[in-house]
Amino acid sequence: MRAANRGDAVAYRRLLTAITPVLRKVVRARGAALGPESCEDVLQDVLLAIHSKRHTWNEDAPLRPWLYAIARHKVIDAFRVRGRRVELSIDEFAEGLAAEAGSDPTEGRDMEKVLNQLEPRAAEIVRGFGLHGETTAETAARLDMSEGAVRVALHRALKSIVKLRERMIE
């Protein structure tokens, strides 16, 4: 995390990849009734929160309590809201479960809705890294932008994603 806060993308990715299975287990244990897809949405919320609040971790303090506090806050919040939402559409929810049984369990739904609200180019940049496994330089070349512009656009896009997700929860 220390390296990540100094801009080391590889170290940061390793950290996020390492904590994700643990977080997923916590989220699924709490929200078994919601179905794997909603759990994945919550997990993605937690990851977004860790990312957008990473500057509130003090480098001299142990990382685990901080991570735990952020995750707990987000998980409680997310289930409080989703619990309410599921009650409203329980039939639809049951149908949806049956129909989507074969889909990838690490696929979140909410994220797509949010990405569709972004500017197409911003959404394209956010998708580019995972879908095509691109680096900033490759995205820049593909979209005919400078590397700096891609960085700024990505940073802004993630910020608006966090805001839009918060609005979804309210």
Binding site: H55, N58, F129, G130, V152, L154
Partner: protein, 210 residues
């Protein structure tokens, strides 16, 4: 979107984020400046300000300043999960308890009639209006800055921001206010600062959510 794809996108966003305190520093100086200038324009200092600052009345300025330091430090700690704020919280509680004790002691000495006498002055309304007015820009900037933090208890963080803003406004206002009796200062300043604290808590519940 798959979670691994999201992680890839998050990891690629390496732009550093400014710490909460640094993000707040300049806007907060601006807000203090705004409150200070409006104070100079619309209130102005009492004629015997230097004599007052050399007497017991200096406590009217000093005690709020102590509250500002403690409440601001506590609010900042609350915006950072995992950072200990217990020491500041108990110091803050001790200062408030001491002020309450001082009020009870003064009340015991002069009785309810004394309290009524001290408070039946037009200065009371001036005080109750001025402190929240001077605190408004401070509270606004403090809440804006703290919203970039990660408060686990938004109402408490907001209340501490309100306490810090209200106490700083009280310290500024004390330069103008020429009522020095304990039975006036303690309840009037207390209610004024308390109302800003309450406002901070109510607004904080909404704007400090994340």
């Amino acid at each position: 979107m798959r979670t691994d794809d999201l992680i890839a996108a998050l990891a690629a966003d390496t732009k550093p984020q400014a710490p909460v305190a640094i993000r707040m520093a300049f806007p907060l100086m601006g807000a203090v400046g705004l409150s200070g200038i409006s104070f100079a324009l619309f209130w102005g200092s009492r004629p015997d300000v230097w004599a007052a600052l050399g007497s017991m009345a200096v406590l009217k300025t000093l005690v709020p300043l102590v509250l500002v330091a403690l409440a601001a430090a506590f609010a900042l700690a609350l915006a950072h999960p995992g950072r200990a704020g217990k020491g500041r919280a108990s110091a803050l509680g001790a200062v408030i308890a001491l002020a309450a004790l001082a009020f009870l002691w003064a009340l015991g000495r002069e009785g309810l009639a004394g309290l009524q006498g001290a408070l039946s002055t037009p200065s009371l309304m001036t005080c109750l209006m001025s402190i929240p007015a001077l605190a408004t820009p401070l509270l606004g900037v403090a809440l804006w800055g703290l919203s970039s933090g990660a408060s686990l208890r938004p109402w408490l963080t907001g209340a501490m921001a309100g306490l810090a803003a209200g106490a700083l406004a009280a310290a500024i206002y004390s330069i103008y206010c020429d009522k020095d009796m304990a039975l006036f200062v303690l309840p009037a300043y207390g209610v004024a600062i308390g109302s800003v604290t309450l406002a901070g808590s109510l607004i904080g519940m909404h704007v400090l959510k994340w």
